[in-house]
């Protein structure tokens, strides 16, 4: 990989060595991308713990007996739909369309909140049946993994609320647009983690 070859292949007359630092938007996006990858590594550790411990039920209920697939399917649908509406909101923020941005943000928030309340009701019914995290290693790993994902979604909802307020008070400043753009990356990344959760935890249970 020669430096000369790179310069020739790039568009524009200015050599690479003479260009200034990358624009803020690129730096912010790249930095946030690195954060997301490290966040995914946290989830990888929890997935590894779950994979190792999923059979250690200590006489308690096994995975296949606990989960309701219809419930999980609705949760998945909510999160997937909210990912797409978040993309639409992101496009609206980029073209400074206030009404469309609010509309898609509200829909995204409702879908995310529906996901969280479904997960809460699932956890509540499990706890009511005595299947606490302290019951077995499998349940500890389950509540840690799925709970961490739920916590991330909850934080994402708070962030979305803050972004709505910032667009209402500050308007579409480049700074606000960058923040919304990072929020979009966060939200899509959470959906990617959820693919792993529903495949390994819920559908892998047999």
């Amino acid at each position: 990989m020669s430096a000369a070859g790179q310069v020739v292949s790039l568009p524009g007359p200015i050599p690479l060595s003479m260009r200034g630092p990358a624009p803020t938007r690129v730096v912010v996006g790249y930095g946030f991308w690195l954060f997301l990858l490290s966040d995914i590594i946290i989830f990888a550790v929890l997935f590894a713990a779950y994979a190792v411990l999923s059979g250690e039920t200590n006489g308690g209920p096994a995975a296949a007996a606990l989960f309701d697939k219809t419930h999980v399917f609705i949760e998945t649908a909510c999160l997937l739909a909210s990912s797409v509406t978040c993309g639409f909101a992101s496009l609206a923020v980029q073209r400074r369309d206030r009404i469309a941005a609010y509309l898609w943000m509200v829909i995204t928030f409702i879908l995310g909140a529906a996901f969280i309340s479904l997960e809460r009701s699932e956890f509540a019914s499990m706890l009511a049946a005595g299947n606490r995290p302290s019951r077995s290693a499998f349940l500890s790993a389950f509540f840690t993994l799925v709970g961490t994902h739920g916590l991330h979604v909850t934080i994402g909802l708070c962030w979305l609320l803050v972004m709505t307020l910032q667009i209402a008070t500050l308007g579409f400043l480049p700074m606000v647009q960058r923040r919304f753009f990072c929020f979009g990356l966060f939200w899509h990344a959470l959906d990617i983690v959820w693919i792993g959760v529903f495949t390994i935890v819920y559908l892998g249970a047999r």
Partner: protein, 124 residues
């Protein structure tokens, strides 16, 4: 702005060249829905040889993650995305190391460990 971005790399999710349109998200949604339905169907079907189902589920999940990366996060292997792509590759490498490494080591330890009842007898 556009020229600058082309020259100095692009952040993930930014798509200046008409790549982020509502259509992109709708195409992604279509693929994601098909793959999700396939996963849920595969997990409860008896048409497929049962020990093969986890492999099928893994393939469908990886495919759906790819769809999300390409259509929602707009990650590609284009020259202006080299940094994002390399970071992603390193992330996948670490994730694989952690998950498969842990599973392999723990399975090996399990295999090497004396059965629990014998261990208890020895401790008495």
């Amino acid at each position: 702005m556009t020229e600058e971005i082309e020259a100095q790399g692009r952040a993930p999710g930014i798509s200046e060249h008409s790549r982020a349109t509502p259509q992109t998200y709708l195409i992604g949604l279509f693929y994601a829905v098909v793959l999700t339905l396939a996963s849920f169907w595969a997990s409860s079907t008896d048409l497929i040889y049962a020990p093969g189902i986890p492999v099928l589920l893994a393939v469908l999940a990886v495919a759906q993650m790819g769809v999300h990366l390409v259509f929602f996060l707009h990650i590609s292997s284009a020259p202006d995305q080299t940094n994002n792509f390399l970071a992603l590759a390193f992330g996948i490498f670490v994730v694989g190391l952690i998950v498969f490494g842990s599973m392999m080591i723990m399975a090996n330890l399990n295999h090497a460990m004396m059965p629990m009842d014998r261990l208890m007898q020895m401790q008495r």
